[in-house]
Subunit: 203 residues, 2 copies
DNA sequence: GATAGTAGAGAGTGCCGCTATCCATCCAGG
DNA sequence: CCTGGATGGATAGCGGCACTCTCTACTATC
């Protein structure tokens, strides 16, 4: 309960309707918002500041859903202090060019692209210069996943539901992806082992 | 530089070879290890304690690569304090049964499955009871990704390289996946928009 | 009227990831 | 041989963050 008061103070939850100077009323919308905040913190691992950004993006009324999704993604991708390797930046730009994305040439202009460049920079720093080769197969698999995401979101009714489904699908989805990826690794590596038991590179 | 001393104290880096009581020698292996630690912290967002677990898994000599990968995945999936929804646990068990994974019936026995159940529990708590329907398409996409991962790892030479590629591929891969997923969303939602411009659910 | 409960706000707490200080020692330059 | 700067090792301190505690003013209830 003190945590709720803290969230109220931090502006993560709207103030209740004051029925008297020391009595406020909270409705279902407050509870829903509280659960969303807990979801972002517990599963998404977001900081309070990031949660505030996400909520601000949700509550902005005059934006398309597309830009809302972008804002959410920006908020959940806090930039790290990694210095970017110019070669990694080139890798990202080449990847975008390959995918026909011309608008994202400025890698540092977005937290998401910055995060991608940072990840590839760190990969290079530990000697994995060719990690970029994984970008295309990753995108291929993620297209299937994104297809499911879009269908899931489109199945929502009201606009508010769509927005929340977007946030949930993005953030909880990331956590689910991490976990399911483990299962996929197990399955694929088992297939590889079954396929060529004598030249097993994984055991 | 003080940070390195701190890591030494925390046991994340092995002590250098003392050439004299106050002079230690550090070789390339130390530098490599340091960069790995920074990679885990900066990109993976791991805590120092988790990094210690990952390194312990790497340094354990008498395990198969398969169990090493499992140990790494366990270390990077720190369990949250979310209480699990029994229905979400059932969802996870049904998913595993569907995929022929019989060994993971104990959901709380592994950080990874616990994380998956926690994510689905939180999804349920915000009203997304059918988020579990995404598990199968997620796995389908992740199999493609895991295929690329395994090929990438198998292309490594020495056993140490394979181990490090596993860690890098898992942890940096998660970060890359998060970023690339955004691009996939953009592409897929644009395809949807192009396909049926009048019933656009995303704008 | 006594009691219990609430809103609101400020201060305090505990943990975590460093960072700064201290001292004994050692090595290099003169 | 002497001195200044650097190093290893250990201890203590700091700053940020996510709460949590406490205090006051007030009111609704018994």
């Amino acid at each position: 309960m003190p945590t709720i008061k803290y969230y109220l103070r931090e502006g993560l939850l709207p103030a209740g309707v004051l029925t008297s100077p020391n009595q406020a009323h909270y409705d279902d919308e407050h509870l829903r918002r509280l659960r969303l905040v807990r979801a972002l913190v517990d599963v998404g691992g977001l900081s309070i500041a990031s949660v505030r950004e996400v909520l601000a993006a949700i509550d902005t009324r005059d934006e398309s859903l597309h830009s809302k999704l972008g804002a959410v993604q920006e908020a959940i991708s806090q930039p790290s202090a990694v210095e970017l390797d110019p070669l990694a930046i080139e890798d990202v730009q080449a990847f975008f060019a390959r995918q026909g994305e011309t608008e994202c040439v400025d890698v540092t202009g977005s937290n998401v692209t910055h995060m991608l460049a940072a990840a590839l920079s760190v990969a290079r720093s530990v000697g994995h210069d060719h990690f970029r080769d994984l970008l295309d197969p990753y995108l291929e698999g993620l297209k299937i996943i994104a297809q499911a995401d879009v269908e899931y979101i489109a199945g929502r009714g009201s606009r508010d539901d769509v927005i929340e489904a977007m946030v949930v699908g993005t953030l909880i989805g990331d956590a689910v992806l991490k976990a399911v990826r483990r299962l996929a690794h197990v399955q694929v590596s088992r297939d590889v082992i079954d396929g060529r038991p004598d030249s097993d590179p994984l055991n």
